[in-house]
């Protein structure tokens, strides 16, 4: 090893480069480096590795035994609920005029309450069937609002087109839920994830 190489290896730039490349070699500079052999993984060890990774993944998502995950889940649910409540509150603030409510205004308010209930069900519930019901309630709220517009009436054609699209998407979601129910005999989204992880562990 020449004098120049020795100096270069001691420099902070060289150490920085090694750190950046993720190399931590305790024998660096003491013994001669040899090129590594190419890594070949046999089928058994690959299966074992995949099984271990799947187990680790499963443990990371195990809400029953992982307290931190449970706490995170609760916090995210609380944030979602606050988001939905703020949204509905802001809507009510926007809809209700200072002079008080007319009949159409009251209907819009009812539509908004429906929308809020549906939105919360769709956002927060773990059960897919309740989510589907939430979607229906949310759509009902929106179409009630469209029907109660009192300054300018929404054209019937546009309203019908939107209703058709909503119904088609509703059917698509119902079909997906039916497929999940048929294959995994569950309607709970978390349970479905757990079942899929278990399936991946058993058949890596």
């Amino acid at each position: 090893m020449g004098h120049f190489d020795e100096r270069r290896r001691r420099s902070s730039a060289f150490r920085m480069r090694n750190w950046y490349r993720g190399e931590k070699d305790p024998y660096l500079g003491r013994v001669e480096m040899k090129p590594q052999k190419p890594f070949k993984e046999d089928v058994a060890s690959m299966k074992r590795r995949l099984h271990d990774e799947a187990m680790l993944e499963r443990r990371l998502r195990d809400t029953e035994n992982n307290a931190a995950l449970r706490r995170f889940s609760k916090v995210s649910e609380a944030v979602s609920a606050v988001f939905a409540v703020v949204l509905v509150g802001a809507f009510l603030y926007a809809v209700i005029p200072a002079s008080g409510l007319s009949l159409a205004g009251g209907a819009q308010l009812a539509a908004m309450v429906l929308f809020g209930v549906g939105f919360l069900l769709l956002l927060l519930h773990k059960n897919l069937m309740k989510k589907l019901i939430g979607l229906g309630v949310m759509d009902a709220g929106i179409f009630l609002f469209m029907a109660c517009t009192y300054i300018n009436r929404v054209p019937v054609g546009a309203g019908l087109a939107c209703a058709c699209v909503s119904v088609l998407i509703f059917v698509l979601m119902a079909w997906l839920i039916a497929q999940i129910r048929r294959r995994y005999h569950t309607l709970d989204l978390d349970e479905l994830s757990a079942l899929l992880e278990k399936e991946e562990v058993e058949n890596p």
Binding site: Y20, R21, G22, P35, Q36, P38, F39, K40, A90, F91, Y93, A94, V95, F115, G118, F119, L122, L123, L128, K131, L135, M138, D139, I142, F145, M146, T149, Y150, I151, N152, V154, P155, A158, A161, C162, V165, S166, L168, I169, L172, M173, L176, I177, Q179, I180, R183, Y184, L189, L192, S193, L195, L196, E199
Partner: protein, 497 residues
């Protein structure tokens, strides 16, 4: 000429929709050829429209279907760019489809991509709010179909999660549209601008107006899977094959963000949006995405997850540009959108090739080796894509960030300028860390490692895949080097947007 050109937007929408349905009749190879022919036809039509509008002395937009669709330079340019990049992606990624999917599934992939292309074209060209909602829902159904190509249970789970989040966005979007219609009695985006300005000047229903506009923006952001509404699509991105993930993570958010830009600029007016404080919300979401997504990306070991987070960060950049609340901000956001559509497909495709070169099945780890000729080329193109994503000079990412910074400093106000500059700097630093680490690991391996460790016969057909990678690098470099010309086109397009 004018009579023919007027029908181009309509043909661009109907062609992929109609011929996508006809793909049901074909086998795998015929479906593939058909798909490429559709993309070429769409590209040529969009190019004709683009150059016609650019050279026309009377700078007026083209209206078709009684004003339901409206095309200016910007719409035609974005459609042309989408067609070109989708063509490169489809041709470059076809080998992946053969490896990952069975023959009926490959055909189904082409059907859904063609239908999705029609929906995205409609989002580009539509001038009606309800039409935008209908095509947004149609795009959602097509995306679900693409996710369901993964026949396992994970495909079902990803599809239902995506659908739930997307439906929340649809609800917000439709409610916002109804509210805005109630106030203005106008469904066309071009007619809304005047009504909204008049309503604001009269000083009545301001709360409703702000809330309606905010709901539409929020709905489009949720549907475009911008940070922090990306949770529903993240699993779908993780599980999808290489061409699917490019379509889902690059083109779909691009289409929705273009709709958002159109709504803010044409229907509300960017100055009025700033006065209604809607741009502040966009700016806040954008800057959060730019910084946090890049931090998440830097923490990833899996290359595809890293790229997905990087994609979300780029979406944040677009939102930040719109949130600046000036014309130059919108111009920078559109340029960023084009840059995202050129750099990220390049990264995903080269990452897939690197992965197959070292024995992976699509989700490459950051220690992928690059040795064989094809894989070396993939390594070089990955490096080019990474340079663009980080923002190295000459690449499109640099020009996009420069335009964003200039827009923020020129007209965003002191706080916005400082925050935007800080966001761009942090994004560049974390981008350099994560892409630098990936690049060092890609190129650090000796040639013998990759040659023996890699599977023979990478997933893509070598000649096409390599050619497409070269084209995509050239496209990104061209976008970066000719950024001034492209920015001029965008500004000309904004004049009649």
């Amino acid at each position: 000429m004018m009579g023919f050109v007027r029908y181009i937007p309509l043909v661009c929408i109907l062609l992929p929709l109609g011929f996508g349905v006809l793909t049901v009749l074909f086998g795998r190879m015929a479906a593939r050829v058909w798909h490429v022919v559709i993309l070429l036809a769409e590209g040529m039509l969009s190019a004709t429209l683009f150059f016609y509008l650019l050279t026309e002395e009377e700078c007026v937009p083209i209206l078709s279907c009684g004003g339901a669709f409206r095309a200016g330079v910007l719409e035609a340019g974005a459609a042309l760019f989408l067609c070109v990049v989708l063509l490169f992606t489809s041709v470059g990624g076809q080998g992946w489809l053969d490896v990952a999917l069975s023959e009926p599934m490959v055909r189904r992939y082409y059907i859904f991509v063609d239908l999705l292309l029609g929906a995205l074209m409609a989002l580009f060209y539509t001038d009606g709010l309800f039409a935008a909602y209908v095509f947004a829902e149609f795009a959602t159904a097509c995306i679900c179909g693409l996710i369901l190509l993964d026949k396992g249970g994970r495909g079902l789970e990803s599809a239902i999660r995506y659908l739930i989040v997307s439906l929340l966005g649809s609800g917000l979007l439709l409610l916002g549209i109804s509210m805005l219609y109630d106030l203005t009695g106008e469904l066309r985006l071009s007619g809304l601008g005047e009504s909204v300005a008049l309503l604001y000047a009269q000083g009545i229903y301001r709360r409703r107006l702000a809330f309606g506009v905010g709901l539409i923006c929020l709905g489009v952001m949720v549907k475009g899977a911008a940070y922090p509404f990306h949770m529903g699509v993240f699993r779908a991105y993780e599980r999808a094959g290489v061409p699917d993930v490019v379509v889902l993570s690059c083109f779909v958010p691009g289409g929705f963000l273009f709709l958002l830009a159109k709504f803010l600029y044409r229907a509300v007016g960017i100055t009025l949006a700033a006065e209604l404080k809607v741009t502040y919300v966009l700016f806040a979401f954008g800057i959060a995405g730019v910084v946090f997504c890049m931090i998440y990306a830097a923490a990833q070991e899996d290359m595809r997850r890293m790229l997905v987070f990087s994609c979300l960060a780029q979406t944040g950049c677009v939102l930040m540009g719109l949130g600046i609340g000036t014309v130059s901000g919108v111009s920078a956001a559109v340029f960023q959108m084009l840059s995202q559509m050129s750099a990220l497909p390049l990264l995903f495709l080269s990452c897939g090739e690197l992965s197959s070169g070292c024995g992976g099945s699509g989700g490459a780890r950051t220690d992928a080796g690059s040795s064989r000729t094809g894989v070396k080329l993939a390594g070089v193109s990955f490096a080019a894509g990474a340079c663009s994503a980080v923002g190295m000079p000459l690449f499109s990412g640099f020009s996009a960030k420069l335009l964003l910074a200039q827009a923020a400093v020129a007209g965003g106000g002191m706080i916005k300028a400082v925050l935007a500059l800080a966001g761009i700097v942090l994004n560049t630093v974390f981008g350099a860390v994560c892409f630098g680490r990936a690049l060092v690991r890609v190129f650090a391996r000796t040639s013998s490692d990759g040659a023996e460790g890699g599977t023979q016969g990478a997933a893509m057909e070598p000649s096409f895949a390599r050619l497409m990678l070269v084209f995509m690098v050239a496209l990104d470099l061209a976008l970066g080097c000719c950024s001034r010309i492209v920015a001029d086109w965008i500004e000309a397009g904004l004049g009649i947007f």
